[in-house]
């Protein structure tokens, strides 16, 4: 999908470090659970998300599978793949590129979950499942622009699939299930409305982006943007080396994360922070640990340090801290820092 038109390179985005870090951390450690980017219009939110596509690693999927079932996850296959195995077929892996799949606000229910293939039914008289966005999103990034404006019943469907990692379809005479594990990336302008708390909690990390305040950097943004518009291909070529560098950084980090053992101090710090903040459920501590591991790995380290947790806390907690609407968080960030420092002081 990115072949026809060059996308503004990720490495050419000026500033917005938190947003970039949060996106990279998710690529490195997908089960962090996505990013919510909040901010006003024109703060490179969408640009950054689309730019990520160029950095995404390749993965091995089942050849000939419409849902790109993960070849390495043989326990979680779609109905068709399971049938193929049952018929004695051996599934072959093929390489696929991860991509950014967009969910438009106008999407209807049947297009999101998939439904009966009408054409097939009329011409062949057979029931066949026609995959929807949740199918295409499997193993990829699912991007929802203005996620706070998404219809409630579509949100319910997303939550349903996200909770189970599988899309169960029971519609129009069709009974089908396929894996639907995606990295959810949403952007929103908070002025236009809040996000449902349950959906909010599904986003692993949240970043608040602001317009660049520094005049020099603002000028740089415009300069690059104009250069890109004048000659997109040429502009992208200039960033080839930097893009490659990020790709390698991601690759290294993925290897590191797989081997990284979270130590006692990290777990304790995460739990203490969650308890002190009184955040809902247990998802916060899990995200905190994963985030810290991802940030350590991105920095090329094989163990988590205090600063990694601080970064992870900054990006994973604010959107979970508000237990009730309008209630101020009970704890300032400084206190979070001291909890972390305390946990790390006594090894």
């Amino acid at each position: 999908m990115t072949d026809e038109m060059p996308v503004y390179p990720f490495s050419a985005i000026v500033g917005q470090e938190d947003m970039k870090d949060a996106l990279l951390a998710n690529i490195v450690y997908p089960s962090i659970g996505g990013v919510l980017i909040r901010g006003e219009k024109g703060t490179a939110k969408s640009t950054a998300v689309r730019a990520v596509a160029d950095l995404l690693p390749r993965r091995r999927v089942v050849g000939g599978c419409a849902f790109q079932c993960d070849f390495l996850d043989a326990k979680n296959l779609c109905t068709s793949c399971r049938e193929r195995i049952a018929q004695g077929e051996t599934l072959e892996p093929v390489a696929a590129k991860m991509r950014v799949v967009e969910l438009p606000l106008s999407a209807t229910e049947d297009r999101v979950v998939g439904t009966l293939d009408i054409e097939h039914a009329i011409t062949k008289g057979r029931k066949k499942f026609e995959p929807g966005v949740l199918a295409i999103a499997n193993g990829n990034i699912l991007y929802v622009d203005e996620v706070n404006l998404l219809d409630d019943h579509i949100v319910d469907l997303l939550l349903d699939a996200a909770a189970m990692g599988t899309n169960y379809v029971e519609r129009e005479g069709i009974s089908y299930s396929h894996p639907s594990r995606f990295m959810l990336v949403g952007t929103m302008n908070p002025e236009e409305g809040d996000l449902r708390p349950q959906l909010l909690d599904r986003f692993g990390l949240a970043v608040d982006v602001e317009g660049e305040k520094d005049a020099g950097r603002r000028a740089e943004i415009i300069k690059r943007r104009l250069a890109f518009e004048r000659d997109p291909a040429g502009f992208c070529r200039n960033y080839d080396a930097q893009q490659e560098e990020i790709r390698q950084r991601i690759e290294r980090a993925r290897t590191l994360v797989a081997k990284l053992e979270p130590d006692e101090r990290l777990l304790r710090a995460a739990v203490r922070i969650s308890l002190a903040l009184g955040v809902d459920g247990h998802r916060a501590d899990l995200t905190l640990v994963k985030g810290a591991a991802a940030f350590a790995a991105l920095a090329g380290r094989s163990s988590v340090e205090e600063m990694d947790i601080v970064t992870a806390a900054r990006l994973s907690l604010p959107h979970r801290m508000r237990r009730r609407p309008f209630e101020e968080s009970r704890m300032e960030f400084e206190q979070i820092r001291s909890v972390i420092a305390e946990s790390y002081a006594c090894p």
Binding site: L157, A163, G193, Q198, P325, F326
Partner: protein, 629 residues
């Protein structure tokens, strides 16, 4: 399928785990509902049932389920290929002898919820649709989850689950660390992790199987049956379902414990699992009212509290005045006297909370009924193509939202007799069916606030703001659109056009000034204009104006007497279909009762602020706005 987190590895949540074992051991138990806030492993817990049950499989009823797949419908394939008309069973029938799982049942369409529950209770599915008449037997274990923050279940639904358990966050540090470590290990290597628990799973499975075999021989001594009934009466449980649920659960507990007779402890635990959600007496907690700092569990020290009060203009600082002194501290530095604010000066009052329980008791039961209804969201059938597809019907004039599958099913029985022109199915215009879609409506609630000087008297505004805050909090959870309009001086000003961003509303509320005359007529006209005008709201939306005033309008737009004009306008506005709720802020004696008269003219529902603390106001209004069918 995917490896599930093993049941024995789930930490804490002993009651929930017991309930699950009971549901598996005694299949007469009708349904188990797991309630918990987000991220408390509700789904994990239910998914882990599969491994315990041996041969049973979990069938998921997803949010996207359509009627035909739930109940069953004509099978297109056989109709076309074999010319035979036969029923293709729905999930309810396929789930026979299996476990049916509904995640977030409070989000599922109400009709679907009722279909599932009645199949679970009656053990059969009665189908009367699309020319089919059928009656299929089915017996399944029903397991469902819900997060109460996302809305309540329709009234009566919780009672139809025999067991209901609440999952809580684990607060113990060591346990949390253990849980976190396990979860990480599981995610990294699910199979290895599960293997370590295989032995425990197998022994639990055996325990359940033994209990199933023993169950027919388990008896409840007569005295204990009486105990159950007394327990239910004492707890105000209505109907007989509660008694039966306790009895079934107690039997399961005894069987799991390898006993043939139910003992007192079984009944105690069974009551905990089966009656908690059925009790009627205890005053319901009021989750919508913000807690006051003193009772807040974080235990802010007092000095912190006073610091908050003085810095009341900090973003989002919520102060809860507990005494007149504190109220004074919150007022603007202009130092207006507490008795009356002069009509020509403006002052800004803080937001008060009027959380009081006195005077609440007499109508407790009434309030409780309202509360149970309050979670019901209004659903409307929408004419555009948005919304959830719930059913189908004969199409109207514009056939633009065709329900293809339903149309194909309609055509299926006739395929043997039709010319196909190379296609497998031939459709005629008469076969076409159209989709019926339903949408949860966002309500629009416009707060029309009297900002005139008289409202400043005795810091009335503090109380009023507290009430509005409670309503806004509620609107936040229901994702309604709220607007804020204030009338004072000569004008009505729209401070906040209807929006879902309640944060903005709270900010504006905080800085809302009081002072000047009362252009009540203008306020009502402007509010009605705003809500009847297209654009701000789609037609399906349910619109309510909550008018907070003492009713003493004293600004006329023409030469007429202001009161006469007010009455005329109110009667006119009453015909627009907008719903009005008048909250009378008049205080002291004698009362003039202007707001009551206004409410009559508006055909509005009337409340006096005195009798309503903010918690009750939110509740009563919600009862009106949400409670009606």
């Amino acid at each position: 399928m995917t490896v599930q987190y093993p049941f024995p590895a789930i930490m804490g949540q002993e009651n929930a785990k017991k309930a699950i074992l009971c549901a598996l051991a005694n299949e007469d138990i009708n349904g188990i509902l797991i309630v918990g806030e987000r991220g408390t492993a509700k789904t994990t817990l239910i998914r882990s049932m599969e491994a315990l049950s041996g041969e049973k499989e979990i069938r998921t009823i997803p949010q996207n389920v359509t009627e035909d797949r739930l109940l069953g419908a004509i099978d297109i394939e056989t109709a076309v290929t074999e010319g035979a008309v036969c029923l293709s069973p729905g999930i309810l029938a396929e789930g026979n002898r299996q476990i049916l799982f509904v995640d977030d049942i409070n989000l599922l369409r109400e009709e679907a919820v009722h279909s599932v529950l009645s199949a679970s209770e009656t053990r059969r599915i009665v189908i009367e649709r699309e020319g089919f008449s059928d009656n299929v037997e089915t017996k399944f274990i029903l397991a469902a989850t819900m997060d109460p923050a996302e809305g309540e279940l329709p009234f009566c639904v919780p009672d139809r689950f025999d067991l209901c358990v609440r999952l809580d966050r684990i607060e113990d540090e060591e346990m949390r660390i253990e849980l976190l470590r396990n979860r990480l290990l599981f995610e990294r290597a699910p199979e290895e992790f599960s293997a370590a628990y295989e032995h425990d799973v197998v022994s639990l499975r055996e325990t359940i199987e033994n209990a199933q075999e023993r169950l027919p021989y388990v008896s409840i001594p007569d005295g204990h049956l009486e105990l159950i009934s007394n327990l239910c009466l004492e707890l105000g449980v209505s109907g007989q379902r509660g008694d039966l649920a306790v009895a079934r659960t107690a039997k399961a507990l005894a069987a799991l414990d390898k006993r043939d007779s139910v003992v007192f402890d079984d009944i105690k635990l069974a009551a905990l699992l089966a009656l908690e959600h059925r009790r009627g007496e205890a005053p319901p907690p009021i989750p919508d009212t913000p807690p006051c700092p003193e009772t807040d569990e974080c235990g802010d020290p007092p000095h912190d509290d006073s610091h908050k009060n003085t810095g009341s203009d900090g973003p989002g600082t919520r102060t809860v005045p507990r005494s007149p002194q504190q109220c004074d501290a919150m007022e603007s530095s202009e130092g207006t006297g507490p008795a009356a604010a002069p009509h020509d000066t403006e002052s800004v009052f803080g937001i008060g909370s009027t959380f009081e329980v006195i005077g609440y008791l007499n109508e407790k039961s009434k309030i409780a009924t309202r509360r149970q209804k309050s979670g019901r969201r209004t659903r409307v059938i929408c004419s555009d193509r948005s919304g959830r597809y719930i059913s189908f019907r004969l199409p109207g004039k514009n056939k633009n939202d065709i329900a293809f599958a339903a149309s194909l099913r309609t055509a299926a029985p006739y395929q043997r007799f039709r010319k196909k022109r190379g296609l497998a199915i031939s459709l005629k215009a008469s076969d076409l069916r159209e989709k019926v879609r339903e949408k949860k409506t966002a309500r629009t609630i416009l707060f029309l606030v009297d900002g005139s000087g008289s409202m400043g008297a005795r810091r009335r505004m503090v109380v009023v703001k507290g009430a509005i805050l409670s309503l806004l909090t509620d609107a936040y959870q229901k994702r309604d659109r709220v607007g804020l309009m204030v009338f004072q001086g000569q004008d009505a000003r729209l401070l906040l056009p209807p929006t879902k961003s309640t944060d903005v509303a709270v900010r504006l509320l905080r800085n809302l000034p009081t002072g000047g005359r009362t252009p009540l007529v203008k306020g009502i006209v402007e509010a009605a204009t705003l809500l009847t005008r297209g654009g701000c709201a789609t037609p399906e939306e349910n619109k309510t104006v909550v008018l907070l005033t003492d009713g003493r309008g004293n600004v006329s737009s023409g030469s007429k007497d202001p009161y006469e004009e007010l009455s005329d306008t109110a009667k006119k506005v009453a015909g627009t279909g907008i719903r009005f709720v008048v909250v009378d802020t008049e205080e002291g004696y004698p009362r003039i009762g202007m707001a009551l008269k206004l409410a009559g003219d508006l055909e509005a529902t009337y409340f006096r602020l005195e009798e309503l603390d903010s918690g009750r106001l939110a509740d009563s209004v919600r009862g009106l706005v949400y409670g009606e069918e």
